[in-house]
């Protein structure tokens, strides 16, 4: 096992995540009891809710590291923010994909403008804006500052989006109320355990992916520095 892991360059941390993911799959798909009304499709909740937690947590991490970046001006905090945004975006996409798959059989519709769905949609759009600014502004010297500003404003915005979407639909009594309202109360102990494990494993997975993403970004910096050094010594020798 360890030999294969070394060959595939999986760190021990990654190995723990892998084992955790297998355990999560077992607990949520097989071990947890079948939901009486919704049936097996409810099992998507274990992944959906865990990713939603990561999607929000990751953006707060973007905001916090953005503040530190503006304060200290150290590249590593920009790397933390960027990596958190990119990995968080993947989880946010996962939320947006698993939601409708669950919603169609349960609600009879792929999408409804329920507060939580609207919230996730806006959060997803802020992630998109962040990543787009990173890509389209990569030739700018100040792009890291711009991104930090967007990260901070986006994080400040989260409570506002939360309340705006809540009151927007919450005032309409006939709107669909998401079943997560009964999350704590209505759930079986086994289900709660499965969800808890899933949330912990997803958090570990998030940090693992982030650490890999950060390592990649550092390698890029290193390559860039090496290229500049070679270019300085032998002009024209580096093609790209």
């Amino acid at each position: 096992m360890a030999g294969i892991a070394a060959r595939l360059r999986i760190t021990p941390f990654g190995l723990i995540c892998l084992v955790g993911l297998v355990a999560t799959l077992y607990l949520s798909l097989i071990w947890a009891p079948r939901e009486r009304v919704m049936g097996d499709v409810q099992r998507i909740m274990y992944f959906h809710v865990a990713s939603a937690w990561i999607a929000e947590f990751a953006f707060v991490l973007v905001g916090v590291s953005s503040v530190i970046y503006l304060w200290l001006r150290e590249r590593r905090w920009d790397i933390v923010a960027y990596s958190a945004a990119e990995v968080g975006f993947v989880f946010c996409c996962f939320v947006m994909i698993t939601g409708p798959i669950w919603g169609k059989p349960v609600w009879g519709t792929w999408w409804t403008w329920d507060p939580r769905l609207t919230f996730s949609m806006i959060l997803w759009l802020i992630y998109v804006a962040y990543l787009m600014l990173r890509v389209y502004g990569d030739d700018l010297p100040q792009v890291k500052t711009f991104l930090a500003v967007l990260g901070i404003l986006g994080t400040i915005d989260i409570p506002f989006i939360h309340f705006a979407t809540l009151w927007w639909r919450g005032l309409h009594p006939d709107s669909l109320v998401m079943t997560e309202e009964g999350l704590g109360a209505g759930m079986e102990v086994d289900m709660r355990i499965a969800l808890g494990v899933s949330a912990v494993v997803f958090t570990l997975l998030f940090f693992y992916l982030m650490s890999r993403r950060m390592a990649l970004e550092r390698l890029r910096d290193e390559t860039e520095a090496l290229r500049e050094r070679v270019e300085h010594r032998h002009p024209g020798s580096v093609g790209i």
């Binding site: 759009l125 700018l140 100040q142 500052t145 500003v149 915005d157 506002f160 009151w167």
Partner: protein
């Protein structure tokens, strides 16, 4: 604080003087809002009752786009002519540059709102006079809140390759709570609701405006540094 206000007043005066001489921003914004209203009319192709229900949304789509136009144009000519460097070299607080630009944007959007609202009333056969004072408060609050984010992001977007595309992408998701609140309060007002019927929304609008105004003034300094 006092000198900051005096400085931003100078920036504001300069921008308004330029605008007064060319009138390009305000005219473009006005025509643009008008077109939005007319296009929406085609898009819905509905009876008067439906139109009155969608009118608040329509109004704010028109004004949000006009606001983006204004914010974007408050920086792009300065950038293109190279006068923004001059502005930054001036011995004034950077926050006051932002405040001056923001005041300019609020003024221009306000002017466009004053011009377009009567046309809304005309086209959609709406009653507006009894709600005028309420609408003024809501519009002012919302326009200041929206414009502070818009002005800040316009200063960011003007530097990027895709500047015209980047502004809505950056701004609209972040400004969505204020837009939702504006549409809801405007709708409640038109339906004859009182302040009590929208306490939550007014609170959200005010807190958003104060928080983002302060945050924008503080963050603008970082955006314009070289």
């Amino acid at each position: 604080m006092r000198s900051m206000l005096a400085q931003s007043w100078q920036i504001y005066r300069k921008d308004m003087l330029v605008e007064y001489r060319t009138r390009e921003r305000v005219v473009t914004m006005f025509v643009f809002s008008l077109i939005v209203v007319i296009i929406f009319n085609f898009a819905f192709n509905a009876g008067a009752d439906v139109l009155q229900r969608v009118a608040p949304g329509m109004i704010w789509v028109a004004f949000a786009f006009a606001g983006m136009l204004s914010a974007s144009r408050s920086f792009s000519p300065e950038k293109d002519r190279g006068t923004f460097e001059g502005l930054l070299l001036a011995p004034i607080d950077r926050g006051s540059i932002f405040l001056g630009k923001l005041m300019g944007n609020v003024t221009l959007i306000g002017l466009v709102q004053l011009a377009v609202l009567p046309l809304f009333v005309l086209f959609f056969n709406m009653t507006i006079l009894p709600y005028l004072s309420k609408l003024l408060v809501i519009f002012f609050l919302g326009t200041v809140g929206f414009s502070s984010v818009a002005t800040l992001f316009a200063a960011v977007a003007v530097n990027t390759r895709m500047r015209d595309v980047m502004l809505p992408v950056l701004l609209l998701p972040v400004a969505s709570p204020v837009l939702i609140a504006l549409v809801e309060t405007t709708r409640t007002t038109f339906e004859g609701g009182d302040w009590q019927d929208m306490t939550n929304w007014i609170r959200l609008l005010s807190v958003f405006t104060v928080v983002f105004l302060i945050a924008s003034v503080m963050l603008f300094e970082y955006i314009v540094e070289e």
